[in-house]
């Protein structure tokens, strides 16, 4: 099939309206949430059903053309960046909620359903815990691909802990079900391998999610400290006491200043750190633990602990926290959002190290993070109008990841590798590790058509399966097939 034939075939599949060929239309999709990378695809399709997705992928397979799946394009690692000469498969029309089964705690959705819409569909008694800050726009398909997290993940877990089944279009155009509505389908846990695979193993077209009952009670406080070290020690003390908060989020002085200007929550500008702690669960247990958390914060040096009195105040605390990224625009013309992880106990030392690096580079780094799981989001501020500053800022952001790795951490906690962090993969993984990743990728996509150029540090080919697959005698005898 040549290029023209592919276009005509895709047109037949999705219809004229949902096939985009114009440079002007395609510009909408040239970047995801990470704007420094841009690439216009050769064309984009917006299929309206899972079957149309399958036909689009099958057409690409026949034409030997690479493709990229895209949800809402809110990704922060360039995961949905189109490939030149490739097809972009946009899933934003697949927004049906297919089943809500609360007796079994399950929801089945199409991939273009937004994260927030899942919780809405099961409200008021149930909710879907993984809650990325982008939840109003980002899609479940994107969440599955990135294994997205959010503020409540320390207690509740990540996307991967909530997906029980998927329908996936493989790069050869076959539709397969992995996992299911039930747990523990015997066989390899392909579900676990697929979640977090960043669109490189296939397109998820149907997703079964586990939802859980809304906790009986929620208690929220914000405690202010003189330094992030003090706040970090409070975090350790809380967790060490056996308390598992629903969320535990930290902001440093720069972030407090920036967010206060935007959210007007009455936070004391000038303080070293703010710690937002939310406990949820059974009322009695929550109350008992809340008293203890308040005491620990005071013991660790906080003289200003504010307990939310009502839902409005709780919402204000959260608004302030979630304003962190946009608010940074008020104190700096540009910034990079970094995403690294360190073991929680190393937080205080790592923060000192980041401050030293910021001083060395003459740039400001604001810190806001999911403190419970050691997931840092340093915001590296710069002014693109000043020559060379963007490059310096990018280098500094990379140095911060080196610090995370030296502390025993990871180069990404939730935003994924995408294109942006490929260059750091080889620092975290050895050649044999990367080769094992490639084995998985080749099992799903031997021809390398699904989101090529993402995740792996250098492009790799699959080749034939090396060696001869030896059959077990039973299998050869045709008996094992019955297993």
């Amino acid at each position: 099939m040549d290029g023209r034939e592919l276009v005509e075939r895709l047109r037949r599949v999705v219809g004229d309206r949902w096939l985009l060929l114009d440079e002007h239309d395609l510009r909408t999709y040239e970047s995801d949430g990470l704007l420094q990378y841009q690439q216009v695809p050769r064309l984009a399709v917006l299929p309206g059903t899972a079957d149309e997705v399958r036909e689009c992928v099958a057409a690409c397979a026949q034409a030997d053309v690479p493709w990229v799946a895209r949800g809402a394009g809110s990704g922060l690692s360039g995961g949905a960046l189109p490939v030149k000469d490739g097809v972009l498969i946009v899933l934003s029309r697949l927004t049906r909620i297919l089943e809500v089964d609360l007796d079994n705690g399950r929801v089945c959705v199409e991939p273009g359903v937004t994260n927030a819409a899942v919780s809405t569909a099961v409200a008021p008694d149930f909710f879907y815990p993984p809650d990325p800050s982008s939840q109003i726009v980002c899609t479940i398909g994107g969440n599955v691909a990135e294994n997205s997290g959010g503020a409540h993940c320390f207690k509740y877990g990540f996307t991967t802990n909530y997906v029980t089944g998927l329908e996936v279009v493989l790069p050869d155009g076959e539709l397969v079900t992995i996992g299911g509505k039930e747990l523990d389908t015997p066989g390899y846990d392909l579900l676990g391998a697929f979640v977090g695979s960043e669109g490189t193993l296939g397109v998820a077209t149907k997703i079964w999610l586990r939802v859980v009952p809304v906790p009986e009670a929620t208690r929220t406080l914000v405690a202010f400290f003189d330094s992030t070290r003090q706040a970090g020690e409070a975090v350790s003390a809380i967790v060490q006491a056996g308390i598992v908060p629903g969320a535990i989020e930290m902001m440093d002085a720069t972030t407090i200043k920036a967010t206060e200007a935007m959210a007007h929550a009455g936070y004391p500008v000038g303080r070293g750190a703010a710690l937002l702690v939310e406990l949820d669960g059974a009322e009695a247990e929550c109350d008992a633990q809340f008293t203890e958390v308040t005491r620990i914060c005071a013991d660790q040096g906080s003289d200003d602990v504010r307990v939310s009195r009502d839902e409005a105040e709780r919402a204000l605390f959260w608004k302030t926290r979630k304003a962190a990224f946009p608010a940074m625009g008020r104190i700096s013309p540009n910034y990079f959002v970094q995403d690294g992880v360190v073991p929680r106990t190393t937080l205080p030392d790592v923060l000192v190290r980041i401050d030293e690096l910021a001083a060395e580079y003459g740039l400001t780094v604001a810190n806001v993070f999911h403190a419970g799981d050691g997931n840092l989001h340093p915001l590296v501020c710069f002014d693109a109008a000043v020559e060379g500053q963007a490059a310096r800022a990018e280098e500094l952001a990379g140095r911060i990841l080196d610090v995370c790795l030296e502390a025993g951490g990871s180069i990404t906690g939730e935003h994924g590798v995408g294109v942006d962090k490929r260059k750091h993969m080889a620092k975290m993984f050895a050649e044999d590790d990367l080769a094992a990743f490639q084995r998985l990728r080749c099992a799903f996509d031997p021809d390398g058509r699904a989101n090529p150029g993402k995740v792996m540090p250098t492009p790799r080919l699959c080749g034939e399966v090396p060696g001869v697959y030896r059959q077990h005698p039973l299998e050869a005898a045709g008996l094992a097939e019955r297993f």
């Binding site: 846990d189 676990g192 009952p213 056996g242 044999d432 090396p466 297993f483």
Partner: protein, 367 residues
């Protein structure tokens, strides 16, 4: 039958390079040895007894790095000194951490803390070509690279040898209490399960047992207010007799033990299937992680064991069932897999173990 016992990743890698062309069976202590089908008589056993170090325990980070041959019980004893545990409590007959990961076995704590797949944060494996590969890391949140820990969890030694895992730990609960609800009516038991699972109880465990026409729902609470919460939950139930037990360890030990037997069928179903599972069980004891829909039918020894097992499996169709204990009794311990999914699993096997070294022919679909 040859057995080798490497003492390090490097030794394991060297041994696998040596063994090119042989059939290999990884082995812990053999507590689940017959699960997942019979190996070839010529298989070389690679025993993990020499990989028996707790490499690191970081109490402040609630993580540990453990070699595959460490017995689970030893690990738990070690962690308990710091008030922590690996929140996996399968019926334990001396099994190793590697065997637990390879079989993805679980116990009552699965309800709250998830299974093996949810608690392994990093893994080291030796593949049949002797390469040593790691995925994940040692932090509880991490999305760099593919998650091979989940792929190897429950792979029954058919993809490679697991030599080391990094694990997420949890605090031991400050106290526990168990709500016990009894009834001889499966429908009432099912209603009680749904009443409990639709409430935000934050229970540690939510199990059912059914034996000789007597059903029990067991809901375990942890924390300083455990007893109060168990009492509170009891008020949500109707048509069942309730009791709150404070000294509840023996209840749960019995529940775990009953998950093993002369023959055990594991059932993947939904919580609303409980009555159907009970109806299909025949003379087996039913142990169910009721809010998860996963059940174990544990058959007593005696005549016609294989027939009793197969009758239950047939009655449960199209639900997927696997025979664990007593696998040798039946022709096909694994259920029939969906053809498309099976083809994909075969491709995964062919990439990770192209020489078919690890336990060929023993897994789902004859993989």
């Amino acid at each position: 039958m040859t057995t080798i016992s490497p003492g390090s990743d490097e030794e394991a890698a060297a041994a696998l390079k040596e063994l090119q062309g042989a059939t290999v069976r990884p082995s812990g202590n053999g507590s689940r040895a017959e699960w997942g089908g019979k190996d070839s008589d010529k298989a070389v056993t690679v025993h993990t007894g020499g990989l028996n170090r707790i490499v690191a325990h970081n109490p402040g980070d609630f993580t540990a790095i453990v070699q595959a041959g460490v017995p689970l019980a030893d690990l738990q004893r070690h962690l308990a000194r710091e008030g922590q545990w690996l929140a996996l409590d399968p019926p334990d007959r001396g099994g190793t951490v590697g065997g637990l990961v390879a079989t993805a076995d679980s116990g009552p704590a699965r309800h709250r803390y998830g299974g093996v797949r949810d608690l392994v944060i990093g893994i080291t494996v030796v593949l049949s070509d002797g390469s040593v590969a790691r995925s994940g890391g040692t932090v509880i949140k991490n999305v760099a690279g593919y998650d091979l820990g989940k792929l190897f969890a429950g792979s029954y030694g058919t993809l490679g040898l697991v030599t080391q895992v990094a694990l997420r730990l949890h605090p031991l609960p400050a106290g526990t209490a168990t709500l016990v609800a009894s009834t001889a009516d499966p429908a009432a038991l099912s209603r009680a399960v749904l009443a409990m699972s639709r409430h935000p109880l934050e229970a540690m465990s939510l199990d059912v047992s059914w034996r000789e026409d007597a059903g029990r729902l067991l809901v375990r609470f942890g924390g300083v207010t455990a007893a109060e919460r168990a009492g509170h939950a009891a008020k949500l139930l109707q048509d069942v007799d309730t009791d709150v037990v404070l000294d509840d360890e023996s209840i749960w030990a019995a529940q775990r033990a009953a998950q093993r037997g002369a023959a055990v069928v594991k059932v993947s179903a939904l919580p609303t299937d409980l009555s159907a599972v009970i109806a299909a069980a025949g003379d087996a004891t039913v142990i169910s992680r009721a809010a998860l829909g996963v059940s174990w039918l544990s058959f007593p020894p005696g005549d016609n064991l294989a027939e009793r097992v197969e009758a239950a499996r047939k009655a449960l169709e199209p639900r997927k069932t696997a025979v664990l204990d007593g696998a040798r009794l039946v022709d096909a311990p694994w259920p029939v897999a969906d053809p498309g999914t099976l083809a994909l699993m075969r491709r995964v096997k062919a990439r990770f173990d192209p020489t078919g070294t690890f336990r060929p022919g023993t897994y789902v679909g004859g993989i």
